[in-house]
């Protein structure tokens, strides 16, 4: 079989086809080295371990967040032989792996987003308490979902809960969570609160909640957000970006609604204080009315006494002024016919007059009128 002789280009083309056929996409874990970004778009780095190193090439849009040399990462890439630049892995996705790297990557992202003010307290909005409509983002089969619903149902009723059933683990989770947040924010009638929950897991399991895409989506949500991820101890960046974070899915349910039992007790006390206030008011009124009544009686008694006194004095006065009193003292009232005689000029000698004394009337005749007495 005659030896095949290739041109360089043919050889590169054929090799590429073989690679594409044999390795459409490979997943490799290794250490990040010589990581650099150019023109804010292209990403170059080496993926290495103790014995080997391979060049990788991608774009910034594939990054889960800021990365730095030394992180161990898992890369999905397509091996290619570039005609000029030689062999490299064309990046499809890249994620930090392992507790240490994940923590480190999260710290880098946290620093970056903190600088942008994404975690500022001032951005935090209060949650409606209680809400009526809830956008719930979690995996429908998860224990977190079951706990959240169980506790919510026990505590409160009348809620309209819309579930976005998504993956909460693995690479796909990042995109699905961000898409769910966007979906709820674009509904014709947006829910009053978004709840993103996930139970405990390893650092790798919770990786999505430390990704830049999810953290930014939570922060950018027009709808106030409540996020509860994993165990109490570690707080994911998504929780830090949320308006409110809870330690567990159950705790999230407790923060979101009051408890029916407490509310019923509170309503009972409200009812009795209503009764009590009313009776205090009516008692006060009754006392007031009584006070007024007493006042009224006193005033009446007083007025009555005053009147009686006044009457007595007038009677005495009347008595004193009455002509009869004068008659008793010896005066007499002289009349000529029915005319009162006040002066001697009103009579002449021999005219007939009558004199009224205290006990009788004396008819008499005028003898003489003497003016100089």
């Amino acid at each position: 079989m005659s030896e095949q002789i290739w041109s360089v280009s043919d050889f590169v083309a054929v090799l590429n086809q073989t690679l594409e056929f044999a390795y459409p996409g490979v997943t490799i874990v290794g250490e990040l080295a010589n990581f650099r970004i150019s023109k804010n778009k292209w990403v170059y780095f080496d993926l290495k371990d103790e014995n080997a190193s391979v060049r990788c090439f991608g774009t910034v849009y594939m990054l889960p967040g800021p990365l730095e040399d030394g992180l161990s990462v898992q890369v999905n890439a397509a091996p290619r032989l570039h005609p000029q630049f030689g062999f490299s892995l064309n990046l499809m996705s890249i994620l930090p792996v392992g507790e240490g790297s994940l923590r480190r990557a999260a710290a880098l992202l946290e620093a970056k987003l903190t600088r942008e003010g994404l975690f500022d307290e001032a951005r935090k909005r209060p949650l409606p308490y209680p809400p009526q409509t809830i956008g719930l983002i979690t995996s429908g089969e998860s224990a977190a979902y079951a706990d959240f619903i169980k506790i919510t149902n026990a505590r409160w009723g009348g809620l309209d809960i819309k579930l976005a059933d998504i993956q909460v683990q693995g690479e796909a989770a990042i995109e699905q969570i961000s898409q769910a947040i966007t979906l709820f924010n674009q509904l014709p009638k947006i829910p009053e609160v978004l709840v993103l929950i996930r139970g405990g897991g390893s650092a790798d399991d919770l990786m999505a909640f430390n990704s830049e895409s999810v953290t930014r989506s939570v922060a950018a949500s027009r709808i106030p957000t409540l996020v509860a991820i994993g165990h109490e101890i570690d707080t994911s960046l998504a929780e830090k970006a949320a308006d409110k974070c809870a330690s567990t899915p159950s705790n999230a349910a407790e923060l979101l609604t009051p408890d029916k039992k407490h509310e019923l007790v509170r309503l009972k006390t409200a009812q009795s204080s209503l009764n009590q206030h009313l009776s205090t008011i009516t008692d006060n009124l009754r006392q007031q009315v009584k006070y007024f009544a007493d006042q009224f009686i006193n005033v009446m008694r007083q007025t009555f006494n005053n009147e009686r006194q006044k009457l007595a004095t007038s009677a005495n006065l009347l008595e004193a002024l009455s002509p009869n009193a004068a008659l008793i003292r010896g005066y007499a009232i002289l009349r000529s016919g029915d005319r009162l005689i006040k002066s001697g000029r009103q009579v002449r000698e021999n005219s007939l007059i009558s004199a009224q004394v205290s006990d009788s009337v004396i008819d008499a005749q005028v003898k003489k009128v003497d003016y100089n007495k």
Binding site: P128, Y129, P130, Q132, G135, I137, G140, I149, T152, N153, W156, G157, G158, L159, D160, I161, K162, L163, A164, D165, I166, Q167, A172, E175, Q176, Q179, A180, L183, F184, L187, K260, E263, L264, L267, A270, Q271, S273, L274, H277, L278, T280, I281, T282, N284, L285
Partner: protein, 65 residues
Amino acid sequence: MATKPVNYQKLNSELEQILAQMQSGELDIDESIKLYERGQKIVKELQTYLKATENKISKVQASKK
């Protein structure tokens, strides 16, 4: 029975307001009785809301590959 969507928060704060007003003691008897009756009505409405209503859970179309 289709309960009219009670706005729990709104009714609740109205009840608290009524209690505060009645406590202030500046009301005349007619206002107090009116407020008293309104307060009782709210309490009953909220109690029914708490006891009767169920939670409704529905799914929105989310991509679950």
